[in-house]
């Protein structure tokens, strides 16, 4: 008997079986390859964090890239921890925190109608911080995440131990327009952030990404990308939103730098590196005022 391949029943059964078969194959492959893919994603995150601290740019030239990045990461990334909205260290694995879910909370906080709802939402926040040590320098790396034009944009910003100056930054995106918005992921854009300040006249001020923002006498701005206006604006917003949530922590740290607890009374009397041995810790884990971590010049800056 010859099957009537044009009958309705045949068509429905045929397509159903085919689709189930295809779905089964895909599900199997996806599950089988997942661990390997996750590893790649984790490695990429490590590389982004290192790039924010201006490390590992030569990774692509290495023979064993993944080993190189892992080695570099374990060498420099000395600590990571999770903060609550008040800047206290809470339990959690900083590396595992899903930025998107945190972004959803922050987005709701910004949109909250009453201070009470905002407060209730704030208490759910888990903010990751990564500490990177390069020789004597201690950097705090904080993430940002937001909605770009076509998909998420995110990045990491490394802040120097005055909690004001940006040491380095790196950004990435899911699907911004190549050549326009996608330029945020390239060095000419994110290198503009180096040396910019996160404050103006003592108040917190985020980095503005605008046309003509990159002038040397403007410590709070960088040039936007022409043709990538929406991406630039979303990134600016994302950075401002996230850094705003980190201000509590930054303020604690800034206060600690200026105080005697951290640096000792004799700080400015003579030329020496600050020795905090035996002093009270600043704010527990992740304190930047480690032994010898502040040199004299930077201290003068704070006390001015």
């Amino acid at each position: 008997m010859k099957l009537n391949t044009n009958s309705n029943i045949y068509t429905i059964i045929y397509t159903t079986i085919l689709v189930v078969l295809v779905a089964g194959v895909l599900a199997f492959v996806s599950t089988a390859l997942k661990p390997k893919q996750q590893e790649n994603i984790a490695l990429e995150k490590m590389q982004s964090l290192l790039r924010a601290a201006r490390l590992g740019d030569d990774a692509s030239a290495q023979n064993n890239k993944s080993e190189y990045i892992k080695a570099l990461y374990s060498e420099h990334m000395t600590n990571d921890f999770v903060l609550d909205y008040e800047g206290n260290v809470i339990e959690g694995e900083a590396f595992e925190i899903d930025l998107q879910s945190q972004y959803n909370i922050i987005k709701k906080i910004v949109a909250a109608k009453t201070p009470e709802t905002a407060q209730a939402l704030r208490e759910q926040l888990q903010l990751p911080v990564f500490v990177c040590t390069i020789d004597e320098k201690v950097l705090n790396i904080v993430p940002c995440y937001g909605a770009g034009l076509w998909g998420p944009v995110w990045g990491y910003i490394a802040v120097e131990d005055d909690f004001e100056t940006i040491y380095g930054a790196v950004f990435d995106h899911k699907g911004e327009t190549p050549g326009l918005g996608a330029e945020i992921a390239h060095a000419p854009f994110y290198n503009q952030f180096v040396g910019k300040k996160l404050s103006k006249e003592g108040e917190f001020k985020s980095i503005s990404i605008v046309k003509g923002g990159g002038q040397a006498d403007n410590p709070n701005g960088v040039d936007a990308i022409s043709g990538g206006t929406i991406t630039s604006q979303s990134l600016e917003q994302a950075i401002a939103m996230w850094l705003n949530e980190y201000q509590a922590y930054f303020n604690i740290k800034r206060a600690a730098i200026g105080s005697d607890d951290c640096c000792g009374e004799e700080c400015c009397g003579e030329e020496h590196n600050h020795d905090q041995n035996g002093k009270e810790p600043c704010a527990g884990e992740g304190c930047v005022c480690k032994k010898d971590s502040l040199n004299h010049e930077s201290h003068e800056q704070y006390t001015k």
């Binding site: 391949t5 044009n6 068509t11 045929y14 397509t15 295809v22 893919q37 490695l43 990429e44 190549p178």
Partner: protein, 207 residues
């Protein structure tokens, strides 16, 4: 089996230069040789195996939904490739980004299935698919060679043009930034078509 199945896609019926299919991706992924090679390989695998699979079930496919069935099969192979690249060649996968997914819409694949696989046995279909993929890939690699060499001064990421030639180092040479951009790729495709037609006179239309 007719040898022309294997030979035609390279010159006489090349998907890009003669059939003018798949030009979009040829402009998009040819900035660097590495990306172009991975793309060429991926398209070859997808065209070859989806042609073969469609051909082997060609007598059972309900005619009214055949395009959808073909699309499902093509999508299956594309997603498989995407997943494998993400697991084993993450950098390349990021660089090619959406274009791997967009292989599904590459006209060459559906074109070959509709025009060839539906009416031929599995093995010739496989050969036809692979040959078309390679014909496409060949043009891709040629374009990428020109673009990477003159646009970035490198091949496969290795510096080919001596550093001392560059103006920045006191030389006389500078990379051509225009070649990096897609419009220049279209002009290169045009030049390749021109060259091919000049050599193969039978491709020229009668006046």
């Amino acid at each position: 089996m007719d040898k022309s199945i294997l030979k035609n896609p390279f010159f006489k019926a090349n998907p890009i230069t003669v059939l003018v299919l798949g030009v979009c991706s040829a402009l998009a992924v040819t900035v660097q040789l590495k990306g172009a090679c991975v793309m060429a390989l991926s398209v070859t695998v997808v065209t070859g195996f989806s042609s073969m699979l469609v051909s082997s079930i060609r007598n059972t496919i309900p005619n009214r939904v055949r395009i959808i069935i073909q699309l499902v099969i093509v999508a299956l192979f594309v997603i498989l490739i995407d997943q494998f690249l993400k697991a084993y060649a993450y950098d390349v996968s990021k660089q090619l980004s959406v274009y791997i997914g967009l292989i599904i819409t590459n006209c060459i694949i559906m074109g070959r299935i509709e025009a060839f696989a539906l009416g031929n046995k599995p093995f010739p279909s496989l050969v036809d698919g692979l040959a078309n993929g390679m014909g496409y890939g060949m043009v891709l690699v040629v374009i990428a060679f020109i673009r990477e060499l003159f646009g970035s001064g490198t091949l496969f990421g290795l510096q080919i043009i001596p550093q001392s030639w560059y103006i920045a180092n006191g030389g006389f040479y500078e990379n051509n930034g225009l070649i990096i951009l897609p419009p220049m790729a279209l002009i290169i495709v045009g030049c390749i078509i021109w060259a091919q037609r000049a050599v193969q006179k039978e491709l020229q239309e009668e006046q």
